[in-house]
């Protein structure tokens, strides 16, 4: 049977994040945690493959204990197993340290449930927003990666091949790759399903598997957490809000308003920058 791993991250709902105007720091308190938006699209694609071909779908996340909830949500949608990799020592990881732990986790998942045929990640997260973890995992596991996938065209189990469409700024690329392969999902890939009733019932009683540093025999402690992270955030600041002096164009007469707007635009450096005659 196919074995598919889906990587998910619990992220703060960025819509709810506010900046404290006094201290210029983030107000995280009371911000709801959600499963990263794009990851649900990765999960959905894995579940579709499961529906069509039969597959074991293992969902993994590295995060705090509270991320169990995110795994339960995935189980309610149809994932078979959820693994939480959690340990204080993992905290403060950048993308390099994160992909290290996730690659080890996938390796352990292979030892436990069999070789992995496909890995799904989201295109990027809503918080760190780097899109670097997927390529990092693929590199460490020596797999091909297909990033920014907008359509999963076909899977040929006999030939061990997938064909997908990758979304690029200037067009779409159809690519064929051989299993095993890592795919990062765009939101236009599919529409995530709602939890089914049996799914909800299973999730209500489900306890995710938890792995800590002690569960990895080959873990190199110098490569995890803050210590294993070469990137350092040296400072954060709130950019000066762009001071805009909004000029209102009188719209009582639309023809006059249109001319007025153009006159104002022509008075800026735009004509020179844009090559308007």
């Amino acid at each position: 049977m196919l074995h598919i791993v889906v990587c998910i991250k619990q992220v703060p709902d960025s819509r709810e994040i506010r900046i404290d105007p006094k201290t210029n720091t983030l107000i995280r308190q009371g911000v709801p945690a959600i499963v990263n938006y794009y990851d649900l699209h990765g999960l959905e694609e894995a579940l579709r493959i499961k529906d069509e071909f039969g597959a074991r779908v293992t969902v993994i996340t590295m995060g705090p204990p509270s991320a169990e909830k995110a795994l339960c949500q995935c189980v309610s949608m149809g994932a078979d197993e959820g693994v939480l990799v959690s340990d204080r020592a993992f905290a403060g990881a950048d993308t390099l340290a994160t992909s290290y732990v996730l690659a080890l986790t996938i390796q352990k998942a292979e030892d436990t449930w069999g070789p992995v045929d496909m890995i799904f990640c989201g295109k990027q997260t809503l918080d760190g927003d780097t899109g670097q973890v997927g390529p990092g995992i693929a590199c460490r596991l020596d797999m091909d990666q297909l990033t920014y996938v907008e359509l999963f065209e076909s899977l040929d189990i006999e030939k061990q091949e997938v064909v997908v469409r990758r979304h690029l700024e200037d067009g779409v690329e159809r690519v064929r790759a051989r299993l095993p392969v890592l795919i990062t999902a765009l939101d236009i890939l599919n529409r995530p399903r709602r939890a089914s009733l049996p799914g909800v019932l299973r999730a209500a009683r489900y306890k995710p598997i938890v792995w800590t540093t002690n569960d990895f025999s080959n873990l190199d402690r110098s490569k995890i957490g803050l210590k294993g992270s070469p990137t350092i955030v040296s400072k954060t600041w709130v950019p000066e809000p762009k001071q805009v002096n909004t000029e209102y164009v009188d719209s009582a007469n639309v023809v006059a308003a249109a001319t007025d707007l153009l006159n104002r635009l022509y008075a800026t450096e735009l004509p020179q920058k844009l090559g308007w005659s």
Binding site: R15, T130, D142, E173, R174, R178, T231, S234, V238, L265
Partner: protein, 359 residues
């Protein structure tokens, strides 16, 4: 089931290979992204920025060109500011694929030792940079919008964080090169100077074509596809347009101004226009010189994607629409009357200019 060809060789925790005397790393390298021998504008923008950093560090600007029949791009890289160009030109590198491209990058980086490597934060740039940084290994800052170097020769790469609400400066002391991807449209390219000269170094491909398991079947330049990230003028519409038909009007205005059409997520979800046009947190982040927000309320997820436009014109019938807070020019009124009037005014002005030129 078919036997899997080629055994995987997992390399989970990677160590730096070879020389780790970081002081021998000198120079600022830019990966020149191209398709069919045409460079992406962000590549020249990054070479422009690299010349500024390299001057501060007193080192050379290195360009890395990978592809098939790309020798012209080597010259172009020099015209745009590079001192040294590393070129890997081979049939199997015609289309971007992660493995063969990253092998070439790793080879060049390990052999020629740049202290900084920059790539565009495009889908291809992020795909490639993520693989290379893991391999080397080194720190990689994503999506930078400001770059600088300090007295210790550290790269200070700043990037927006938390839906652009904050900026964070990120650095990497532990490894070289220091890597960053950087957004299109932020940095200025230098004027193309065909009198500049530089050195071109040929690099052999690092993978047998037979070893490459992925294959690009075809590239579809999707009809109506728009390159929002690089557009200088964007005319964007939202739910206020009332239906897909009104986008025709926006297209007309965009055409007059040499721009492209953008959209809010609401209208993309309604199916009035393709996802390629979506601006915002889950669409494209744009930085055009001129942005029209037409019938768009100004939800934060939209605003984070366009607030760094040089000039914003907002047209909305609701005087309290949040979009007006960030607009340079505001017109409160019905877009169905205002847009045709603006199109007409642009045409009239063009005609007047033409007539002026005649005399």
């Amino acid at each position: 089931m078919a036997e899997r060809t080629g055994k995987r060789k997992p390399m989970i925790g990677l160590q730096p290979e070879g020389d780790i005397d970081w002081s021998s790393y000198r120079g600022v390298m830019v990966f020149v992204e191209q398709r069919n021998g045409q460079a992406k504008p962000v590549s020249w923008q990054l070479i422009g920025e690299a010349t500024r950093l390299a001057a501060k560090l007193n080192v050379k600007v290195m360009a890395l060109v990978i592809g098939w029949q790309v020798s012209e791009l080597a010259e172009e890289s020099i015209y745009h500011g590079a001192d040294e160009v590393y070129v890997c030109d081979s049939k199997e590198l015609e289309h971007y694929r992660t493995r063969p491209y990253s092998r070439v990058c790793l080879h060049v980086i390990r052999k020629y030792k740049p202290e900084i490597v920059l790539m565009g934060a495009t889908n291809t740039g992020r795909d490639l940079a993520g693989a290379i940084a893991t391999h080397l290994p080194t720190g990689l800052t994503a999506d930078s919008t400001q770059l600088d170097v300090d007295e210790e020769r550290l790269l200070l790469a700043s990037r927006p964080a938390f839906s652009e609400k904050m900026l964070a400066t990120i650095l990497c002391k532990q490894f070289k090169p220091q890597m960053a991807t950087a957004r299109a449209g932020v940095f200025e390219q230098l004027p193309r100077d065909t009198t500049r000269t530089g050195e071109v170094i040929q690099v052999p491909p690092q993978m047998d074509p037979g070893e490459i398991a992925t294959e690009m079947i075809e590239f579809l330049e999707t009809k109506g596809s728009v390159n929002l990230a690089e557009a200088e003028v964007i005319v964007a519409g939202g739910r206020g347009l009332g239906g897909p038909a009104a986008f025709e009007m926006l297209k007309e205005l965009a055409d007059e101004l040499g721009g492209v059409v953008g959209a809010s997520r609401a209208v993309v979800d309604l199916g009035w226009i393709g996802h390629d046009h979506q601006v915002g947190q889950t669409g494209v982040t744009v930085r055009p010189k001129l942005y029209f927000a037409i019938g768009i309320s100004g939800a934060v997820q939209h605003v984070v994607g366009m607030q760094n436009s040089s000039y914003i014109v907002a047209i909305n019938k609701d005087a309290n629409a949040p979009i007006f807070k960030i607009a340079n020019y505001a017109i409160v009124g019905d877009l169905f009357q205002i847009i045709p009037a603006i199109i007409q005014a642009v045409r009239t002005r063009k005609l007047e200019r033409l007539q002026l030129l005649k005399y």
